[in-house]
Symmetry: D2
Subunit: 261 residues, 4 copies
């Protein structure tokens, strides 16, 4: 079975900043998609902020198993309607992988219900990423730790909900630490945050980072049919109760009336 | 130390529906506040949807330790700005207790990042509430189970994030079950959902329910000073790094520039 | 890839009790294995308490992906050494599915670090099993709820650690509820407890129960190589530190000395 | 209300090693107890491995709210019967704080059901401890991070169950990271692991470490009455079922018979 991965790239720094463009001439999303394509079981495609509806149309999300999200400078330009659409697809079972500065993406804040804030420093310092659980699918094939010689620092506190699992921790040369790989579930959808990926460094060419991305796509893929009524609140009429009961007492709702939202 | 509890009542059914008014002549919020007032360590006050800013002004929330929320028919009338304000206070450390039909309140959906949907039936059937962890502070003084002879049924699946703790489960006469007492954390704030409380039944006069409310206020109270910068993402300049490092490589941000949001 | 599932059956009631024998003439383990064999991707085999080392030799566990455990009357006869061996394989990545009265199996208490106690009643009453998360792999293909017309009741509180996920809840005719499908992780191993399966009823012939067993085997299977040094506490000599440091201050351990356990 | 804290010190290194004795002339337990005594709400006492039953008699544990445990060289000398007794008290509601090398203490491995292994290096290197959640009660009054100039390194992977909460992370000079403050629950008892505290360094004189210890005692204290039947599995006779049911089908157990364990 092929996993259909959709890579969203903000694609703004690549246009405005020569350093970023020189590292990622086809856009960061292209490099990320190329990393995924090294796995024959993953079929990656890409969209960008500039596409109509940022490429995240209902039709496109309906055929997406896992969405990867890289954004930074233009979080505010992402349409609220698209964010809600993505959230609903995640609840229904689409996986979501949020990368680096995507911690402040609307969709990440929406699904975590949290500020998702952190400390940062852009000094090209050394980051060591340690695996907390070598048996986790997202850590498949990784060494106990690996190094990114130049990265932006992100430091705790990272104001996200307690995760389901902590997969990676980062050590920074400047003295900070960070929970760099965290998982959550929302409805039928799996959510993974992965820290590295600052646009002025060639992080998405690192083979370990690329392995994590591929592993994460496999992990986030829920092959179950979409949970299409995850937002519905159906009434169960008295006559359809699993056990036979008699209606008693006063009622607010008229028969057949919908609940309030 | 006194815990300052603020009870938000939607206060709409009480005005429109004679049954509800007859049970809660002063409004459901008044009955809930009276339950809290039975505990000398809790100082309850009330606000309603009809108050300016629903009573949840910045000044009011700043002196609130725990907010209790009952809403149903008029979720849509709650101001989005007020919802964001409440969310920020929760992240900073204010406790939040969401009651019954509040599962669809904007603030609950906001903080859980989830649909919060469920099945329902209004038949006045019997509910048995079982304690899953008798040692939990919210279960203090409760029997192994207690009965509400007439309640609305809420049935699984309840599309919320996996909780930190499951405190109560409900058995319904008609054959359904529900996770009726669930806890989460968001930032420094503690969040508790408690299922019972349909407006056409005298649930908030039940002594066990009232005990749960008081226990929950104690549990949700975080005496720590507010985490006022929970949404901030401060830059740590190179010269302030805990360990001495040299700046290396290209940079996107100018010195002193704020991060993107 | 085939998943190698090993079904442990206590195989005592089948010998001593005519009712049990009449339902499970080849032993409960045989019926459970037959349920698994309906999935071509699962290759089930069986062992019993009476086998040398209960069939759970080092060699056998080394080629087992997922172990299923049904025990009841003879928990105390299970060798402590075998329990430790199983625990170590779970930590290394072997899945474990504990069934029904296995809640008091030594291996379940060992891995949860908890009493695993509950209330019970053997009255052949009706059990309804509700899915809490329809998108969970263990719920694949199941209806919102299903009925076992005759089952033993298990009631809360179930003294186990808060689970990673609650997959199923049970409603009992007599008024109790139970968290019937719970997951945890230990090391690289996934652990699932599934409640139904009293020996005097034909539960393991129920098609939904059989579906759950097959789903659970898939879920509990960790294809990663075994985490063979999960119990080791290796010293990292100063000269092998990822960052260059100088040894400072007093030391307790001599160079090359093992740590204390 | 006074919290009765019992400090268990192994008290072996202090006798055998001059460095340790010079730092902790009255034993590490005495220094830890002194740190607790700075909080008027905590009433600390001490016991050591050499006391009869290691001082952890049934009578003593019955009047203990929170037990703190420091052990290292002599884990194997701790009586298994005492370990089981402590576990049962934790399940009933006694708090437990496990310190540093106590990660390999029998009681910690018993309650986590895990190997609790890690990497280590004794080089007197610098440790920075970062608070992950400044609003957590255990982080009360602490700065964003604090430094221990000389400590033993503990490195991931730390093979413990996913915690309820991650409170602290450590950065080490040599390049490793560690989850240094973790919480769990077992039954009615709260469990906290805190990493620092190597015997050859004056860690327990550090004011921040001492603050953590006091905070943790407050957090781990469960004022509820002990859950005395947490290990019991009572039968609920048919006539005592909450809802009236008729007994049906075959039974294994005779009326009044106890369940199997």
């Amino acid at each position: 079975m092929t996993i259909r991965a959709l890579v969203f790239g903000e694609n703004v720094h690549e246009k405005l900043n020569e350093t970023v463009r020189s590292i990622y001439p086809d856009g960061m999303h292209a490099t990320i998609a190329a990393a995924l394509a090294e796995d024959g079981a993953i079929e990656p495609t890409t969209v960008t902020l500039q596409d109509p509806e940022h490429g995240c149309t209902e039709a496109r999300l309906a055929v997406t198993d896992v969405l990867l999200w890289w954004g930074h400078k233009a979080h505010g330009d992402v349409s609220d309607a698209v964010v809600e659409r993505i959230a609903e697809h995640v609840w229904q079972g689409m996986g979501l992988i949020v990368l680096h500065s995507g911690h402040f993406a609307k969709i990440f804040k929406r699904l975590t219900g949290s500020p998702c804030a952190l400390k940062w420093r852009e000094a090209g310092e050394r980051e060591r990423i340690w695996t907390v659980n070598p048996g986790h699918p997202i850590a498949k094939g990784l060494p106990p730790s690996f190094v990114l010689e130049n990265e932006e620092m992100y430091g705790e506190p990272f104001s996200v909900p307690e995760p389901m699992e902590t997969v990676f921790l980062s050590w920074f040369q400047g003295g900070e630490v960070f929970r760099s790989g965290l998982t959550w579930q929302r409805g039928a959808g799996r959510l993974f945050y992965f820290r590295p990926g600052h646009e002025t460094y060639p992080t998405y060419y690192d083979p370990h980072v690329r392995q994590v991305l591929r592993n994460a796509v496999h992990w986030a893929h829920n092959p179950a049919p979409r949970w299409t009524d995850v937002t519905q609140a159906p009434n169960v009429p008295v006559q359809d109760a699993p056990e036979r009961i008699e209606e008693r007492g006063p009622k607010l709702h008229k028969p057949g009336e919908e609940g309030y939202r």
